[in-house]
Symmetry: C2
Subunit: 364 residues, 2 copies
């Protein structure tokens, strides 16, 4: 991830991954989430934290989940229901639960169908925040499958030439396994920047870059400006990937619509027909590599491709070229050793919530 969004080393508190996991599980359980679900939800969050996806880890997200459970807008013990299914598809109702725990179950259904008939495609309605979409896509890669995960909901992205937000940030995650090389794992919003990055940058006191948001009248802000201004003025919607029509914003916008269709329309989610989405909808898919050819050959071929991309001659000012999933893999190795760098404000929040919930606080 960009250094822009990292907690500066001189103030970061390094917290052991397993301690962070344990506290997170207990927070979920205190909110009424059953133990196995709490473990799963914490695993999704900690995956983001240890991968350096700080926008989707405990620091940015856990407090909003706690608020949702407290306000009873989120169901802590949802009963997932398959509304319709065929040999390769399922339409699932998430019963108002948190996407963190709903999506892995949807992906399990997809993987099981892919094992039977080659592919499994599952659309999910009536769900909550997904966490890092990459976690769910990765589940398929671990089973020698290609994995997709997308999520839609809310209004953040402004259509090209538009003056008002109409779509969510609508991320796409995609995973494909190699043999010895780290999994290719892409996970990104179809806006030029993830929505959560704005909150994170705000906490870090960083300014926005040009091309991230629209001005109040909808025109792309190619000058940049302070976070405070953005947060105060909700009419400043986020720009699609591509930022301006000339740079290709119609592509980011259309990919956003595609995600809305696959998640919201394909799951028949309430409100998606009128752009007035109440809850979130997801899409997961698994394609079994074995259905297309020899798995070992595929993974060897993937290694060749991934090594080739990483060996690309770099441009001036850079010493390496990456592929998606490679920096996160390296960060996981590092953070499992040295801990997750949390902002002191986040540690204080944990201290407070642990006191309130009567959980042992041992993070710092």
């Amino acid at each position: 991830m960009l250094k822009h969004f990292q907690v500066p080393d001189d103030i970061a508190v390094r917290v052991d991954v397993e301690r962070l996991r344990s506290v997170t599980e207990q927070v979920f359980m205190h909110c009424g989430v059953p133990e196995s679900e709490a473990r799963l939800g914490a695993d999704v969050l900690i995956f983001a934290d240890e991968s350096g996806i700080d926008t989707h880890g405990v620091s940015n997200m856990l407090r909003s989940y706690v608020s949702g459970y407290n306000a009873k807008t989120m169901n802590p013990d949802p009963q997932l229901k398959i509304v319709k299914e065929t040999p390769s598809t399922a339409t699932v109702d998430g019963d108002g639960g948190l996407g963190l725990m709903i999506a892995p179950k949807a992906m399990e259904i997809a993987i099981s169908k892919a094992r039977e008939v080659g592919t499994g495609v599952v659309a999910v309605r009536n769900s909550g925040h997904l966490g890092a979409a990459g976690y769910h896509a990765m589940m398929a890669a671990e089973q020698d499958m290609i994995g997709w995960c997308m999520t839609a909901g809310g209004k953040a992205m402004i259509p090209t030439f538009g003056a008002e937000a109409q779509l969510g940030t609508n991320p796409i995650a995609f995973a494909a396994p190699g043999n010895n090389e780290p999994v290719f794992l892409f996970d990104a919003a179809m806006t030029s920047i993830a929505g959560n990055k704005i909150g994170l940058a705000n906490r870090l006191g960083k300014e926005m870059s040009p091309g991230w948001v629209a001005n109040a009248d909808g025109t792309p802000d190619m000058e940049g400006g302070s976070m405070v201004d953005f947060v105060a003025n909700t009419t400043r919607a986020q720009l699609p990937l591509g930022s301006t029509r000339e740079l290709g914003s119609h592509k980011g916008y259309s990919l956003g619509v595609m995600v809305d269709i696959l998640c919201g329309q394909l799951s028949f989610a309430p409100g998606f027909n009128s752009l007035a989405r109440t809850r979130r909808a997801h899409f997961v898919a698994a394609y079994s590599v074995d259905a297309f050819g020899d798995v070992d050959e595929f993974k060897e071929n993937m290694d060749g491709m991934l090594k080739g991309l990483a060996a690309t001659k770099p441009m001036p000012g850079h010493d390496r070229v990456y592929y998606a999933g490679l920096p996160e893999h390296e960060t996981r190795i590092e953070r499992r050793e040295t801990g997750v760098p949390l902002h002191p404000e986040v540690v204080e929040w944990f201290r407070g919530i642990c006191a309130e919930f009567e959980i042992t606080f041992d993070l710092a």
Copy 2:
């Protein structure tokens, strides 16, 4: 499409769609393509021409196909082979044919599987140029299915932070049907601009915009520059959608890798393991809406969404907001009436090839 790439009205020769179709079919047949295949290939090209996708119509592409057949690098009468299949998947060898005619057959396989088990996913290797990917995705939408089509091959796109091209422009097409509203039909390269647009702009004497290509050392060219300079200097690779890391080029780059995996790796296409791709590979998929829920309800919901997007309040300087497929739909209605505007140079090429192939020239 951007006015930038349209033949100026004062020099354009308006050619009747059906005459253009007939001449194109005859050109294919003269190259050894069987009649039914020639008809299909012409249909794919004419769809682009009448939709205003001039980059992928007869003007830009037909001459390169004729060269391929003449040089015997392309097989005019390929025998498509299913190498492996499961209830929902197939791996197809295109026998060195032109993607224009291979992809519709792959899509027919996908549609037929989707009808049986809910989804159909087909990876194709050993194929040629695809034409407009949207044509193939649209086939699924016409059967009340969601359609995907992607294609990979060649080297045009430079990875983020890289100094050399490693991927094709790797377009994604996606179609989903409404009821009364025109189909949502997205079709775009994962570079900031389609490769073919460079040739087209060159013929029109237009300069490149900032953010489209890299400088010779790999750094993003955010100044813009002449087409001639780009064409002369092949080290100036195309930038991924997003153009710079700050604007999100890692997303365009990673979506490009995703397309390479789905097309090249999933079909076990030669050369894709070493980034030395010889032929093209494709990916098509069809998801039956009926497998997920009620088709009429889905199409009504889609109409609501599409109407809502088109009704978005526009930003200053614009009087409308579009969704992908809407302007092309309107252009089709217009061009079926008034003809396809061809550059005089293209008309002259047709005059020449008709004389050489002893085909009646009746375009102007």
